[in-house]
């Protein structure tokens, strides 16, 4: 019997295929296409303290094998989210990973306090790839100190229970340095990678296509960057579990991230092209693993790092 189970820190999951934050709505929209219990976990869109309108439109531009988005974290705020979204997901029997985002270190602390007593959560994904209003809008995850502060704030306030997955941006000189910092600050696992900062200029209007000018690049175009980041962090911190993501649209793509060192894989942009992509990927990855002779997912995690002489 093939063992598809995986874990991120203390959190155990039936299978390693998750939705990516911000790419699965509230879960309701996808539940028309399949049963949410089929997923390793539903990762919610990053929720903030207060309601957010998000950025103006256009918020999206297609790019070669990818897309830019600048949603700007539109959402109802944590209170309404806990009142409506979470109970609904629990009713469905979904495994829930809540993603949070803040504008200040204090935001992260407050969000963690609001979540510590919430039952039925598997883990917390802490999106620190967002602008810090207290630091000239610089992204938390871009600097060791702010990345550390955000994760520490969550760690202190969440209580020892809920595993913390720190989600990092690849737009840094050394992703390993940031990863080491957030692990030191109390992160149990790392989510890699958030979108890559990009821009498209509309050659008709001759201005940036997105109202927010820059946006986050996602989709197959960035997969080589994701694989590299995962490989580097797994090499430096082999004991830390990684939730991989970035351009996965097939089981083979997911397998690549697993071999690089991911213990689970989130699927984002692929869902936009195919609402049932996550289910397809889950089946395909399992078949890949079995065909390559693995008895369990865990054996394959980081397998690309084995020394040259080693053969399966």
């Amino acid at each position: 019997m093939f063992n598809y189970r995986t874990n991120l820190g203390q959190a155990e999951f039936e299978n390693p295929i998750f939705t990516a934050s911000g790419c699965a709505g509230s879960g309701k929209e996808l539940s028309q296409f399949f049963n949410l219990t089929e997923l390793g976990a539903v990762v919610t869109k990053s929720i903030m303290l207060k309601p957010r309108s998000g950025r103006a439109t256009p918020r999206m531009a297609e790019t070669p094998s990818g897309m830019l988005n600048s949603i700007g974290l539109q959402g109802p705020g944590i209170d309404q989210f806990l009142e409506t979204d979470i109970p609904w997901l629990r009713e469905q029997g979904a495994t829930i990973v809540v993603s949070i985002a803040g504008e200040s270190t204090e935001d992260y602390a407050v969000l963690a306090r609001k979540l510590r007593a919430v039952p039925g959560l598997a883990a917390l994904e802490v999106n620190i790839s967002c602008p810090n209003v207290e630091n000239r809008g610089q992204v938390f995850a871009c600097h060791p100190a702010t990345a550390r502060a955000a994760i520490e704030a969550v760690r202190r306030n969440i209580g020892g229970e809920l595993p913390i997955i720190a989600k990092l941006t690849p737009d840094v000189t050394s992703i390993v340095e940031i990863a080491q910092e957030v692990v030191a600050a109390g992160a149990d696992a790392i989510a890699l990678i958030n979108t890559v900062l990009g821009m498209v200029i509309d050659t008709t209007t001759m201005r940036p296509k997105l109202a927010g000018k820059t946006g986050g690049l996602s989709g197959p175009a960035i997969r080589p960057i994701a694989v590299r980041a995962i490989y580097q962090v797994h090499e430096a911190l082999p004991q830390v579990r990684i939730l991989g993501m970035g351009g996965v649209s097939s089981g083979l793509d997911a397998f690549e991230l697993i071999l690089a060192g991911a213990s689970a894989v989130s699927v984002g942009t692929a869902t936009f092209g195919n609402p049932t992509a996550v289910i397809k990927i889950k089946e395909e990855l399992k078949n890949e693993l079995i065909e390559h002779g693995f008895d369990s997912l865990r054996e394959a995690v980081g397998y690309a790092h084995r020394s040259e002489g080693n053969l399966i």
Binding site: G66, A270, G273
Partner: protein, 274 residues
């Protein structure tokens, strides 16, 4: 996968028919389809949305669905180059539908360019409900007017405007609307076309105090409500402006609830704006 059954050039557009089985029986006027474009190793990762022009419900396996496509960029050009027999990856029906009045009313349907496509199905439904249906179609030039013969049969009057005067009245749809509204004592306007046109029609609808439903075309990444790229600011009954998804709360919206002219900025007072 749905088989492409027919692909014919009509003026500047392609009229395309797909064999879609049961889907044909559930689609309503206003709904759209989302089609994967570019083939197997395509660099185009997102589907393209197309308004449903018509459906033929011929029993579960033989249903047909028709769209009208303007070859414009990479995706639509790929699509219009496909030959009958090709299997196309298509999701439908998506989005909401035009609201159908419960009583017979006098309806005016206004379409810009390929925006006429969803209006013919709508006019048939309205006619079956005993409504009077007038139609105004506008485009820059004659080739861009999509008005097939059998479509025309379902309307009481059809007025055409082109900016270059190559057919119908020279000018824009909005040039002829006031007169028609007055003459036909229109109760409701349905429109579909470019944003600028919808906004201009809305000004007239507001002036005449007529209900106006329009079908919006925002850039959509997913078409199923999960990505939040397709939003537009809409004032709710509680007076609060919210960024709503045009793919599931639309594409049909009450024009007077839309905050027009908010392009590239969040209107003041929008819920969650900061």
């Amino acid at each position: 996968m749905s088989e492409l059954v027919s692909n014919k050039k009509v003026g500047a557009y392609h009229h395309m028919v797909f064999s879609v089985g049961e889907i044909a029986s559930v689609a309503k006027p206003g709904n759209f389809v989302a089609i994967a474009v570019g083939g197997e190793s395509s660099q185009l990762v997102l589907r393209r949305a197309f308004a449903i022009y018509r459906t033929f419900d011929r029993g579960s396996s033989a249903g047909l669905l028709e769209i009208v496509v303007a070859p414009h960029g990479a995706g639509s050009i790929w699509l219009t180059n496909q030959v009958p027999g090709t299997k196309i990856d298509l999701i439908a029906p998506l989005g909401n539908a035009f609201g159908i009045p419960t009583e017979p009313v006098r309806a005016l349907l206004v379409g810009g360019g390929y925006g006429s496509a969803p209006l013919f199905g709508l006019s048939e439904v309205l006619k079956n409900r005993g409504c009077r249906v007038d139609m105004v179609l506008g485009a820059s030039t004659a080739m861009k007017i999509y008005a097939p013969l059998d479509g025309k049969r379902s309307v009481s009057s059809l007025t055409i405007t082109t900016e270059d005067g190559s057919t119908g009245t020279a000018g824009k749809v909005t040039d002829v609307l006031p007169e028609i509204i007055a003459a036909s004592q229109v109760d409701i306007i349905y429109s579909c076309g470019p944003m600028g046109m919808l906004e201009a029609i809305n000004k007239i609808a507001v002036d005449f105090n007529i209900v106006h439903q329009c079908s919006i075309e925002e850039s959509m990444a997913c078409g199923i409500g999960v990505c939040m790229t397709c939003v537009l600011p809409i004032k709710g009954e509680d007076g609060v402006i919210r960024m709503l998804r045009s793919c599931i709360d639309g594409p049909v919206v009450d024009a007077e609830t839309v905050i027009w002219d908010s392009k590239r900025s969040i209107p003041e007072g929008t819920w969650g704006a900061n």
